[in-house]
Symmetry: C2
Subunit: 192 residues, 2 copies
């Protein structure tokens, strides 16, 4: 039996995107964002939503670029800190002892401690209300070499992605293998 929770931003799970940008003074910044996702295969695009009041907002528009940096579960303290503190008040990257290097393709910082970094050129921005949705065209994806399996495919157990559960406002890791996509559903009458 279902019950209504009203009109709320709830869906499960969400990613934990650390959005990298240079601010209007050229200082590197990282912001934790759970409102985001992949939004096109070709050209590859990724979306992240940012509030106007965030320090990151002006930096993305100024440089027409951002990065998405993914941290493993062992970096949860830094990931959460990037969602608590503001780049207006301090260099958050220094404050948690992490490091950045300039993007190869765009004017945005890449987080050295991330297992994966996506360099994005700003493609569209849409005002939706509290949040502005930025769509970035992916210029390059870089991954830690030891996160690849023997076939060169990103290995979820090695990446150990962090995910976020809205409502409860909790971080979790990825759990057990459930099935191969485009395979396990071939015979739906056998299953449910």
């Amino acid at each position: 039996m279902k019950q209504s929770l009203g009109a709320k931003p709830l869906a499960f799970p969400t990613p934990v995107y650390l959005v990298g940008s240079y601010d209007t003074q050229g200082q590197p910044n990282m912001m934790n964002a759970a409102w985001g996702g992949i939004c096109c295969s070709d050209p590859p695009c990724v979306m992240v939503s940012v509030q106007k009041k965030r320090h990151t907002y002006a930096g993305i528009l100024e440089n027409q670029a951002f990065t998405i940096n993914l941290l493993g579960c062992d970096h949860v303290i830094a990931a959460d800190f990037y969602g608590i503190a503001s780049g207006r008040d301090l260099n958050k990257i220094d404050a948690c002892g992490q490091h950045v290097s300039k993007g190869e393709f765009v004017d945005a910082p890449c987080l050295d401690e991330a297992y994966l970094v996506i360099e994005c050129r700003l493609k569209t921005s849409t005002e939706l209300g509290t949040h502005t949705m930025f769509v970035g065209e992916v210029m390059d994806v870089k991954i830690e070499a030891d996160c690849l399996d023997e076939k060169g495919v990103p290995d979820v157990k090695k990446m150990d992605p962090l995910l976020f559960i809205p409502g409860a406002r909790e971080y979790y890791g990825v759990g057990e293998f459930i099935g191969k996509a485009f395979a396990v559903g071939n015979s739906p009458k056998e299953g449910k």
Copy 2:
């Protein structure tokens, strides 16, 4: 040491959205989509990207509405089937023994077997390339009552959300609790 994978649609994890719509003949349909995410808090909005060639595409535009239905890991076979078969060829919902009811607020079907259903009114659509990004304004969220904890908050262990890992094209469940958001990162110098 990082290595480039090129410009690809890779980020981890992605959700498993079952997108519900009525087609132009009024038949209910569900489509599996991993390219999506929450994109605004107020008004609450959720984004999902659909290829023009999908049967779902015309249905969303015709009805200016869609639902996002979330299935638990025990329904992985149906979830995957919704990404393999096409509503042009058969009623996928019947084919896997599931059921729908009409949305309360929008002209789109809600999947009875889903632990959570989001009713969305189409707000914007943006052509990005292979995919069109549909942003829906959330009209209502309904959840199975037994997926709530004693405080009325969605309980991740009871929902048992399915998630998707692009690249490897595998489904996983949500794993262990890592930390409370807006809390675990309060003292970054103690951690990493």
